[in-house]
């Protein structure tokens, strides 16, 4: 039996979105470095092997599982670490085979190189 009586929209082209669990949205900086897009995300408490970066149908998905556990009992409790999850729609410009990423001090940097024909071309201005 179906759980919902409402018709759900089925998009054949859609990428899987988050699972139905609690997640944190990491803050990011995204900037255009000329020949690449650079995504910088704060992922505290995450080991390198627990990061999952996936590009499918021009959607970049970042998933990360924090492995740091806080000692109990708590005297002061200001943060809780849940799995991190965030998705970004990319343009056609990214060369998906050349994506690379590095993790340093809890900050993930993803380099998304642009395909060659989308890189800016420098046009020499001739002064006659």
């Amino acid at each position: 039996m179906k759980n919902s009586t409402l018709p759900t929209k089925q998009e054949n082209n859609a990428v899987a979105t988050r699972e139905n669990t609690r997640t944190l949205t990491p803050p990011v900086d995204i900037f255009d470095a000329g020949d690449a897009l650079v995504v910088v995300a704060d992922l505290p408490g995450v080991d390198q092997e627990h990061i999952d970066i996936n590009i499918e149908k021009n959607v970049l998905t970042l998933k990360a599982e924090p492995s740091t556990r806080v000692s109990e009992p708590r005297l002061l409790n200001e943060f809780v670490l849940y799995p991190f999850y965030r998705q970004f729609q990319l343009g056609e410009m990214v060369d998906q085979d050349k994506v690379r990423a590095e993790l340093r001090y809890g900050v993930l940097t993803v380099y998304l190189p642009k395909v060659a024909e989308k890189q800016p071309k420098k046009i020499e201005v001739k002064v006659g």
Binding site: T25, P27, I30, A33, T68, V70, E78
Partner: protein, 151 residues
């Protein structure tokens, strides 16, 4: 006990409610604390404090710090943590940004410790963007096990 109506206290509660409202709109603020100034915003970086019978543990959520900039010091019952969240390289044109949410800059936060600690045996370990400070308790602050005699 409050015996008269204090308008400034009313403002404070209004401020708190507004902060909570903003937190709902932008959860990133709530998760990672706020760098900005303000009367109630001395909450960067966020901390969890736990203890067992020998130590107090302070965990500080601070990704992307410049490791050389981290300063941890203990004076009496005050733990002071200072550092700098490293900025991105500065040659990026402002118009090249699509998202700019992480922020950067220097911070200081002090915390009043619940018990007396051995200030010269405090250790701090920065790993994966979380600073773990372990503060051994002074002998007088540790719990004593009392043997119960049964007659």
């Amino acid at each position: 006990m409050r015996s008269f109506w204090d308008p400034f206290r009313e403002f404070e509660s209004l401020y708190r409610e507004m902060e909570q409202l903003f937190d709902q709109v932008n959860p990133v603020r709530r998760i990672f604390g706020r760098i900005t100034d303000g009367p109630l915003s001395a909450s960067y970086p966020l901390m969890n404090v736990g203890e067992d019978k020998d130590n107090v543990y302070v965990e500080v959520l601070a990704p992307g710090l410049n490791p050389d900039s981290i300063e941890v010091s203990v004076l009496n019952d005050q733990l002071r943590i200072a550092g700098e969240k490293a900025p991105l390289k500065t040659d990026i044109r402002p118009e090249a940004f699509y998202r700019c949410e992480r922020g950067s800059g220097r911070f200081v936060r002090t915390l009043t410790l619940p018990v007396d600690v051995e200030a010269d045996k405090v250790t701090a370990d920065y790993r994966n963007g979380i600073l773990l400070v372990t503060l051994p308790k002074q002998a007088a602050a540790k719990p004593k096990q009392i043997a119960v005699k049964v007659n």
